[in-house]
């Protein structure tokens, strides 16, 4: 196997749910000879398309897990990475978008730019992924690729330029005219595998000339040589145009547009040519890692196979033979038998079997050099882990994992579900660091925690579908916190004499609010008033009180406890006695320290077509949201607001219905802030009624 990074393309295929992404991928795999028969998505043969792995994705219109598959085209190696398109899976989205260098944006020739096209396009924009567009379904009645190009310009703000025009449309679609070579391309054979190149039909000659003019006009911006050739009326070679289009595409200043029909096997091979000609190779893309020894300062990586290794595990899959870890190598080479280490936990790993994946089949390989994607077998790691040469402390992702903001309890329906649920939870927590689970000591319920309502909803669905674990869920709960607002003193004596050894301990001091830490304990005892061996028991006693706050049983944060006085008894003082004294002291101080409830405030960013800006703002406003600002970006507008998480339940549905499904939002934890008095009272009432009903 020859390794040449310039011939590698790591691409994603992004599309609206029904624009034919799976069919297109299937055709690409067929023409690149990775599969030998074509199965349709909703095929009668009952096999289904190769990449179509998750039923849930189709049903909800979102891609949850990303499959990576490999193919070859004209000496180029193409890795196709499936991209999740939904906003709630921020970590997953970020991971897969980091791994790909370019993308094909698939649009429907009939439906045009739909709301989900807007979503995926915005993600591409956010991660600066260059793309080519493919207008699919030109064989359908009502198709109009040039209307879609106009929408690409108007709705998405792309500098979209047609690289082809269709020969016939709707049922008469027979091929495309390539505006660079000025030839007509037809697709013969049972599956369109034979590309026949002919002269442009007479009736399309004038239009082809005009469109080519437009193309050259647009792309000459990106190439001085092409501009010179145009001005000096020299011959404009194909290379000049291709070079200019590539430059414009790589900088995201233009989007070349191709067209055809994946279902009717038309226009796929030219699209593959475009992927190799216009989308970047790994060396064209700048990748950054974070230096863990240097406060996570960004460091540029070089796509050089000789340098020390830096690789990212971007997806895990449970296979027949254990865990399969998909990785992308950014720098250096991972070879069979070499030693790498996991930057997150410092564990050394001897590389065993290396494979390259094609959907669910695999092929053994010897090494994975920089720029390539492959998979490791039998390695225990989590998704998002970075592997590096020992001694190199670089990480591809920040080690900062935000604390979960929402939780719900799940109860398995039967014993089989219980076993499967535990398997599923083990897997999910490994895949996604923002998804956490634990068993509540009091209720014995399994609690799952995550970053949003939909985040948890999808995991519950995946449990059911992938692991056959039926669970009953409770209503989601917001992770409120308690804290104190003023300094308060305590002086508590714990004294018990009920036969046997007595218990005695006195703890005095004060507590005060802090912002920089969740809990600080300071010992200012002098003269041995509390013997040194019991100080840690005091700290433990205070710490035990933090898990469930006295006010409403929410975790307590932002408290500094200082002990400066106390007393002990030669016989009756013990670790247990001082722990109990500290607990009593905490409760005494806390009652005087004006405790309040804090709630998670989310930074919500809504991206919406400008005409719905007012509606979106009004929705945020109704939810106790504070709008920070609005950013007008031509057709689109971005609204930034801080909204309490408790008010965000069901927001995606409401937002969709008020904006004809055209707006989308992202949400991340911004801060914790005190809940308004009226809401605190409501919470208190609710907690009391829950307590009563539990009793």
């Amino acid at each position: 196997m020859v390794y040449d990074t310039e011939k590698v393309r790591n691409i994603g295929i992004s599309a609206h749910i029904d624009s034919g992404k799976t069919t297109l991928t299937e055709r690409i795999l067929f023409y690149t000879k990775r599969i030998y028969a074509i199965h349709d998505v909703k095929g009668k043969d009952g096999i289904g398309a190769t990449m179509d792995s998750m039923e849930l994705e189709k049903e909800r219109g979102i891609t949850i897990a990303s499959a990576a598959t490999y193919c070859e085209w004209k000496g180029h190696e193409i890795n196709i990475i499936d991209t999740p398109g939904h906003v709630d899976f921020t970590i997953e989205v970020e991971r897969s978008l980091r791994v790909l260098d370019g993308a094909i944006l698939v649009l429907c020739a009939v439906g045009g730019v739909q709301s989900q096209s807007i979503t995926v396009d915005q993600q591409m924009k956010r991660y600066k992924v260059p793309c080519v567009a493919f207008i699919n379904k030109c064989d359908r009645s009502g198709s109009n690729p040039f209307r879609v190009i106009d929408q690409l310009k108007e709705k998405l703000g792309h500098n979209a330029v047609a690289m082809q025009i269709p020969i016939g449309l709707e049922a008469d679609l027979t091929g495309v005219v390539d505006l660079v070579s000025m030839k007509a391309l037809y697709f013969d054979g049972d599956n369109g595998e034979n590309v026949r190149v002919e002269d442009i039909p007479e009736n399309l000659l004038a239009e082809s000339m005009n469109r080519r003019e437009e193309l050259i006009d647009t792309v000459s911006m990106y190439s001085d040589e092409l501009t010179d050739a145009v001005l000096e009326e020299k011959k404009i070679t194909e290379e000049l145009i291709i070079d200019a289009v590539r430059k414009g595409t790589l900088t995201r200043e233009m989007t070349p547009v191709f067209m055809g029909s994946a279902y009717k096997n038309k226009g796929i091979q030219p699209l593959l040519n475009a992927v190799t000609k216009f989308l970047p190779c790994p060396a064209d893309v700048e990748n950054e890692a974070l230096d863990m020894d240097n406060n996570e300062t960004p460091v540029m990586l070089e796509s050089d196979p000789q340098k020390p290794v830096v690789a990212l595990a971007f997806k895990l899959e449970e296979g027949q033979y254990g865990q399969l870890t998909y990785i992308r190598v950014y720098q250096g080479t991972i070879a069979k038998g070499s030693t790498i280490y996991n930057v997150r936990n410092g564990r050394k790993i001897k590389v065993g079997r290396l494979v390259r994946m094609h959907a669910d089949k695999m092929e053994d390989i010897e090494k994975i050099p920089a720029g390539y994607i492959g998979a490791l077998f039998g390695i225990d790691c989590a998704s998002g882990d970075t592997f590096a040469t020992p001694g190199l402390n670089l990480s591809m992702t920040s080690m900062f994992v935000p604390a979960p903001v929402i939780s719900l309890s799940i109860v398995p329906k039967d014993n089989k579900a219980r076993i499967n649920m535990s398997k599923a939870l083990g897997r999910f927590t490994k895949e996604d660091p923002t998804f956490k689970t634990y068993v509540d000591d009091e209720t014995n319920d399994t609690i799952i925690q995550g970053m949003g309502e939909l985040h948890l909803e999808v995991y519950v669905e995946r449990m059911r579908r992938e692991y056959d674990a039926e669970v009953i869920t409770s209503r989601p709960r917001v992770a409120y916190r308690e804290t104190i607002t003023r300094m308060a003193e305590f002086n508590y004596i714990h004294k018990k004499q009920t036969g046997g050894a007595g218990q005695y301990g006195r703890v005095a001091g004060y507590m005060e609010p802090v912002t920089e830490e969740d809990f600080i304990f300071e010992n200012k005892i002098v003269g041995g008033k509390i013997p040194t061996q019991f100080i840690s028991s005091c700290e433990k006693g205070f710490r035990l009180c933090l898990a469930k706050g006295p006010k409403m049983e929410f975790p307590v944060t932002g408290v500094k406890v200082v002990i400066n006085d106390g007393a002990s008894h030669a016989v009756d003082s013990s670790e247990m006695a001082f722990q109990a004294a500290a607990r009593g002291a905490f409760l005494e101080g806390y009652a005087k320290a004006k405790a309040v409830i804090h709630e998670p405030i989310m930074k919500v960013v809504v991206e919406t077509p400008t005409e719905f800006q007012g509606a979106a703002m009004s929705l945020l406003n109704q939810r106790r949201g504070m709008i920070v600002g609005s950013q007008d970006e031509g057709q689109q507008s971005v609204i930034e607001a801080n909204v309490p998480l408790a008010e965000m339940f069901g927001f995606s549905t409401v937002l969709r219905s008020s904006t004809q499904g055209k707006a989308q939002f992202t949400m991340e934890l911004a801060s914790y802030r005190q809940v308004p008095q009226s809401i605190a009272e409501e919470l208190l009432k609710k907690a009391e009624s829950e307590k009563k009903s539990a009793a």
């Binding site: 009004s618 709008i627 920070v628 600002g629 609005s630 950013q631 007008d632 031509g634 971005v638």
Partner: protein, 238 residues
């Protein structure tokens, strides 16, 4: 005097701008300077003064995204809080934020009718009704008079105080009235014009219109390290 009052104290009195708000209702004010001298920092300080008085400030930027404008406020506020030892500054900051709204446009996509539409949207839905408007990055080109006249009409309708950042150029000779050329032909629409003039390591604050005309430099400066307005003849801003 409470520390917070120190910030609220009108620093421009010594320049002859006696009114508390410096510019009258429906009035226009301009802060003129070359690129990078501190127009935004200066305007943000004016905005913070208004915010501390519980006035609603709409900050419109034609250059920077919301995040960046937001960062300006945070920076300048932190510097102010440090300078005047304001504690707990986070509570004051939080209380102030609901009175601020940032609106950004791509310069080429900005138009006065569009702005009016957005503002109407905000006030009709009871989301935000500005009292002070800051416009940063407004192009003072050939067609500026027409846009300014339209803005004036909005200012009258909504009783606004409007501040503009006006970018001047090093190579430009001043017009006959002493104003920078790009500003001179619309200066009649403005009640106040303040120029930031770098001299060596100092940035002087000069009154071009509306204040007392001064000979020589007044004592008001911008501290180049914090970009805060300071009065060199006395303790800060007094």
């Amino acid at each position: 005097m409470l520390n917070i009052d120190l910030i609220l104290h009108n620093p421009f009195k010594i320049m002859g701008y006696d009114s508390e708000d410096i510019i009258p209702e429906n009035g226009f004010g301009a802060v003129l300077a070359r690129a990078g001298v501190g127009k935004t920092a200066f305007l943000v300080q004016l905005a913070l003064r208004a915010l501390l008085k519980n006035k609603n400030v709409l900050h419109i930027s034609l250059n920077d995204p919301v995040n960046k404008v937001s960062l300006w406020y945070k920076e300048v506020f932190n510097n102010l809080a440090k300078q005047y030892s304001i504690k707990p500054s986070s509570q004051i900051w939080e209380a102030m934020l609901p009175h601020r709204f940032i609106m950004t446009f791509k310069a080429e996509g900005f138009s006065v009718p569009k702005l009016e539409e957005r503002m109407t949207d905000l006030s009709e839905q009871n989301i935000f009704s500005p009292q002070v408007v800051i416009i940063d990055g407004f192009p003072f080109d050939e067609s500026v008079r027409e846009s300014l006249s339209d803005l004036k009409a909005i200012a009258r309708k909504l009783s606004l105080h409007v501040w503009f950042a006006v970018r001047t150029h090093r190579h430009e000779e001043p017009a006959s009235d002493g104003m920078p050329v790009s500003f001179s032909n619309v200066s009649d629409l403005f009640d106040v014009a303040i120029q930031l003039q770098p001299e060596g390591k100092e940035i002087h604050v000069l009154s071009l219109k509306g204040g007392r005309s001064t000979t020589g430099f007044p004592e008001l400066r911008l501290d180049p390290s914090t970009m805060l307005i300071k009065n060199t003849s006395s303790s800060p801003l007094q």
